[in-house]
Amino acid sequence: MEQKIRVLVAKPGLDGHDRGAKVIARALRDAGMEVIYTGLRQTPEQIVSAAIQEDVDVVAMSILSGAHNHLFPRVMELLKEKGVDDVLVIGGGVIPDEDIAGLKAAGIAEVFTPGTPTTATIEFIKNNLKRKA
């Protein structure tokens, strides 16, 4: 039986560029994962529906616009509403240190700020999957 880690890479909010998201998508692919990329300007509802249909193990969100304190917890809330509790959710982007504790309290497992090597993200995913892979 072949086990593959499936990751949804999503860009919630309105910011208009996704270089960071593409870099992480490529790094995860090179680490042997299947990455579903949803493109720019996704609503939390779209992200959660896509995560369910794609049956991913991980949702990785990246945000630059500053709306993370609203959008990340909203995704967690919707996942919970749909009864999805076995997906690892991580965040990245321009996120001030003082916001990180709040995001973690909302259920974001880890927050990766700019400059984090992609290998750290890959390691984190491999070690923290909520389902066995």
Binding site: M1, E2, Q3, K4, R6, A25, R26, L28, R29, D30, A31, G32, M33, E34, V35, I36, Y37, T38, G39, Q42, T43, E45, Q46, S49, A50, I52, Q53, E54, D55, K82, G83, V84
Partner: protein, 371 residues
């Protein structure tokens, strides 16, 4: 077992989580999927399976997005299986088709699943046919399969789809070459996308010319099969069968009108030649999409009216069964026990105790006694 019953029940109700879960089990070839698939068996066979294939970057995903919108407007529930290649080096994949379609994610009548080929050649993913079966049982009316960008050998989609849309674009010199080399035979409906670009008319003309040549040479293509079945049918209709089902008659007329319409619209006098539709579209703006859906649906109606739908599905299934049987024999041969036996026979052949064909006969006999 209990779990399988539960899972199958939820798939039947159209629960997207259950559907997604079962597809994952299919993808990783989890043996416990079989119980659920067996339970769902009775529900399959209703969906219209539409294949979208063509060269990389020709706009398959953008077209699929627009097809979904148009089919939804016609009150159909739609599922998409979008396939992208896995990296042969790392086994990873970036599945990017969804980018073009994710606006449908929150529509409860739409289910989109991205699939990686996982080493499978032929333009589909390894578990594509089982995935389609799951989506079918989940009650989607139309299932669109977007293949990976095709070269010349990646045409497995004809084994799975009722209607194959072959997408071309202007400005790809060797695109036409690829089509010439035999991919053309697989199309039921032909679409020249990016019609906003120069050279569209020329590509449309070239495709039509090739189709004409194929028809005149009596080449066996998917569409020539359909047209000859249709003409038999209309011959029979002239002798007027009053007990013919209304629905069937309507479907037939619908298709004939559809085909006539498309031929007429192409503005050419084909004489007696019947050609499949060759449509120009601009997927980005949605231009030509309604006509494309009309052509796809007319094709389905034609298949149904002539009985070709059932015939093709049977042929495809028998091909799939054959392949599954071969795979299972292969896995027996690759087992440790067989390896030893093969090795012994090889030694015997080398030692001139028996010849190659005698050794082969012994292996075949021992396989047969096993199954």
């Amino acid at each position: 077992m209990e779990q399988a019953v539960l899972l199958a029940g939820r798939v039947r109700e159209g629960d997207p989580r259950a559907t997604a879960r079962l597809i994952s089990m299919v993808e990783r070839e989890d043996p416990s999927r079989l119980e659920a698939l067996k339970l769902l068996h009775a529900w399959g066979g209703r969906a219209h399976i539409i294949g979208i294939t063509g060269p990389p970057g020709s706009g398959k995903s953008t077209l699929t997005d627009k097809l979904v919108a148009e089919l939804r407007a016609r009150n159909r529930r739609v599922a998409v299986a979008a396939i992208d290649p896995s990296s042969p080096f790392t086994g990873g994949a970036i599945l990017g088709d969804r980018i073009r379609m994710n606006r449908h994610a929150t529509d409860e009548g739409v289910f989109i699943r991205s699939l990686a080929t996982r080493g499978h050649l032929g333009g589909l993913s390894r578990a594509c046919s089982e995935t389609v079966r799951v989506l079918d049982a989940a009650g989607y009316d139309d299932i669109i399969i977007e293949t990976v960008g095709v070269g010349q050998s990646e045409v497995d989609v004809v084994r799975l789809a009722d209607t194959v849309v072959l997408v071309s674009v202007p400005g790809l010199g060797d695109d036409i070459q690829a089509i010439k080399a035999g991919v053309m035979e697989i199309g039921d409906v032909f679409c020249v996308n990016k019609a906003d670009k120069d050279g569209t008319e020329r590509v449309v003309r070239e495709i039509r010319a090739m189709l004409e040549t194929a028809v005149m040479n009596g080449a066996s293509t998917r569409f020539s099969e359909l047209f000859s079945a249709l003409s038999t049918l209309s011959g029979a209709a002239h002798e007027s069968a009053p007990d013919e089902g209304d629905e069937e008659k309507a479907a037939k007329e619908h298709f004939q009108q559809g085909a006539a319409h498309h031929v007429a619209k192409q503005g050419r006098d084909h004489g007696e030649l019947q050609l499949p539709p060759v449509l120009a579209t601009i997927a980005e703006t949605g231009q030509g999409i309604a006509e494309l859906v009309d052509a796809i649906k007319a094709h389905e109606a034609g298949l149904a009216a002539t009985g070709l739908l059932a015939l093709r599905r049977r042929q495809n299934l028998s091909w799939e069964l054959g392949k599954a049987a071969a795979d299972s024999i292969l896995s027996i041969l690759e087992g440790e026990e067989r390896r030893v036996e093969l090795d012994e026979q090889a030694a015997a052949v080398l030692a001139k105790k028996r010849d190659f064909y005698e050794a082969l006969a012994i292996i075949r006999a021992s396989l047969a006694s096993r199954s």
